[in-house]
Amino acid sequence: MSSREHILAKIKAIPKEASPLPEIPSFESPLGHKAAFILSIQANKGEVITESELKDFIAINRFEKILNLTKGMESLSTQPLPSDAHELNELEVAIIQGQFGVAENGAIWLTDENMGLRVLPFITEHLVIVLNEKSLVSNMHEAYNKIGIQHSGFGLFIAGPSKTADIEQSLVIGAHGAKSLRVVLTNL
């Protein structure tokens, strides 16, 4: 008997009582999504900025390695997506389009088509996500309803910059991944 059969047979042999799968209510909050979303991003140590603030951020820091995957702001891009993910190691800024945001926790949904290479939002030094404020949803239940049966090889809820508190519980931003997250809210 293979291990698979062995394990499944063992489970099957255990007498079990039926236990129904519950339906999940939507728990929608009546509060405004935009204000809640901005607060959530800030609590996660991200920032919500405007397009012109983004341009200032890039200019002041004299970033030279910028990869933009969004429509619009093409002029900011200094390099195309490489074929090998390892070449992104020195990337300073990645600008990508988010699909929608979640007000209760600041999480933003991305899939393969937004990332180009899956490592992009992690390996870049600074991450910028452009998000339409009309896309905001209240909570994670609404979020998964919106995702529905969407089929992407990789999906990601990203809610802030890389962080850790493993040294005496002191919060440090920039553990392995992006050292900052900026969200540009658009209203188109």
């Binding site: 799968l21 609590a43 190691n89 926790n105 393969d112 909570n139 809610a159 493993d166 553990a175």
Partner: protein
């Protein structure tokens, strides 16, 4: 292995023990605060519990469904009856790819299977990439907490360690400085690894995808740069539907650290072009636990660590005192299922206050199971159970080894126990022990006098 002996060792350093206690309580407090901002919190816990009950009642169906969908997504699915088989499967994949060095993100299952020493004995370099795990790996220690692996260490310890291992400045204890040193060190490892191993937080039967949650982004840095991703998953990690993730992701990080969600929640459904994903589904004692009517609920655990943070014993005895991969209250009901003799003292490392049950996001009746294990263990040791339960009911602990635990622990613990616990009516240990002399004047009197 004896919890009381280890606990008294931990309590030798009173200042550190106090810090440990207070820090974990602070995390517990954050969990309380954030849970109160969600009006439907209790409803979410109930739903999570019901979903997990449904999973346990239909486990084989969901596993088969998960396997079918994962395979359709080009994921390789392996099954392992036990730790040895799991380790062999992982080694086999590494050998197929002629891989000599791997990066690994936090996975309690691979700790349970002792994968690291196994791979190292087979000539493979394993680098744990979660910062806390890398720290304990440098020290050749296991994690002392399932969410906060290095919570037993102070920044001074880490500063010295990094000075030795990563050549950081001597005496520089700044957490930001130390974290960034580790970032540079691990970045190199990420860029060099051909294979990355991760754990799994949730496997979704409906889609065949699995979800991994981190704050550091280390799991993703590893797998997206590597050619091969091996995900090791206990068979109980299955959930039925994608939308069930809505419930669990709302509960997990809030329960674990008091944050609304982990910063990275990655849904792996199929490999990127030219890459490979393997899932190893592991039993290793889970089916036995499922067959134990009284204890099967322990398999609902989502490893948030909340029961540890809240536990008055865990906070005051440290993760290592349990001598098991998963420490704390949940560890004390899981471990005896694996080896009842080895872990016989663990179910007694509890006040049975029930705080673990109160915070558990999937509503596991942890303290009741601890009590059940005590009865099983006592039975196995040939003592008359009826008289013991009567004595427990009377608030008197006369079980010889339980007595030993409480005595040894209390000797250390008294130094740091707040009065409210030491002197509360709930404390059945204090009755057996001489308490330190009480101060001649109360704090209030002293304060009044000294303020003038």
């Amino acid at each position: 292995m004896s919890h009381p002996t280890k606990a008294s060792e931990f309590l030798q350093d009173a200042a550190k023990a106090k810090w440990h206690d207070e820090t974990l309580w602070f995390v517990r407090d954050k969990r309380d605060n954030i849970s109160k901002t969600i009006p439907e919190w209790e409803e979410l816990r109930e739903l999570a519990s019901q979903i997990k009950d449904n999973v346990l009642a239909n486990l084989e169906t969901y596993l088969v469904e998960f396997e079918k969908n994962a395979k359709a997504n080009n994921i390789h699915v392996h099954w392992a009856k036990n730790a040895e088989e799991h380790n062999q499967i992982v080694l086999g994949i590494l050998q197929n790819h002629q891989c000599k060095a791997i990066v690994k993100s936090k996975s309690i299952l691979t700790e349970e299977c002792h994968l690291n020493p196994f791979l190292e004995n087979n000539g493979i370099e394993v680098v744990d990439t979660d910062l806390g795990e890398r720290i304990v790996q440098f020290l050749n220690q296991p994690p002392s907490h399932i969410v906060l692996p290095a919570i037993h260490l102070k920044k001074r310890d880490i500063s010295e360690l990094f000075h030795e291992k990563l050549q950081t400045e001597k005496g520089n204890e700044d957490p930001t400085y130390l974290t960034h040193a580790a970032r540079i060190h691990l970045r190199e490892k990420f860029l060099g690894a051909k294979v990355a191993i991760t754990g799994v937080n949730f496997g979704v039967a409906e889609t065949g995808e699995f979800v991994v949650c981190t704050n550091e982004g280390n799991a993703d840095m590893g797998v997206h740069l590597a050619d091969v991703h091996i995900a090791c998953m206990g068979i109980e990690k299955i959930i039925p539907r994608r939308k069930d993730l809505g419930i669990f992701l709302r509960l997990l990080a809030r329960s674990a650290t008091g944050q609304p969600i982990t910063n990275y929640n990655s849904h792996f459904r199929s490999p990127a072009p030219g890459k490979e994903i393997h899932i190893v589904l592991v039993d290793n004692g889970r089916t036995e636990q499922l067959g134990r009517e009284k204890f099967k609920n322990s398999l609902k655990c989502i490893r948030c660590g909340a029961c540890m943070n809240t536990c008055p014993i865990y906070r005051r005895s440290g993760g290592y005192s349990y001598g098991s991969v998963v420490p704390g209250p949940i560890g004390s009901i899981l471990s005896p299922g694996l080896d009842v003799k080895k872990y016989s003292t663990l179910p007694f490392a509890s006040t049975l206050c029930g705080s673990c049950t109160d915070v558990c996001p999937v509503k596991i009746n942890i303290h009741e199971q601890l009590y059940e294990w005590r009865q099983e263990i006592t039975k196995a040791q040939g003592t008359n159970t009826k008289s013991i339960s009567m004595k427990i009911a009377n608030g008197i602990f006369a079980v010889p080894f339980a007595y030993k635990i409480t005595g040894a622990m209390m000797r250390g613990a008294l130094k740091i126990l707040p009065d409210s616990i030491t002197y509360s009516g709930l404390n059945i240990w204090g009755k057996q022990r001489d308490l330190p002399e009480t101060p001649k004047e109360t704090f209030k009197d002293w304060y009044k006098k000294n303020r003038k």
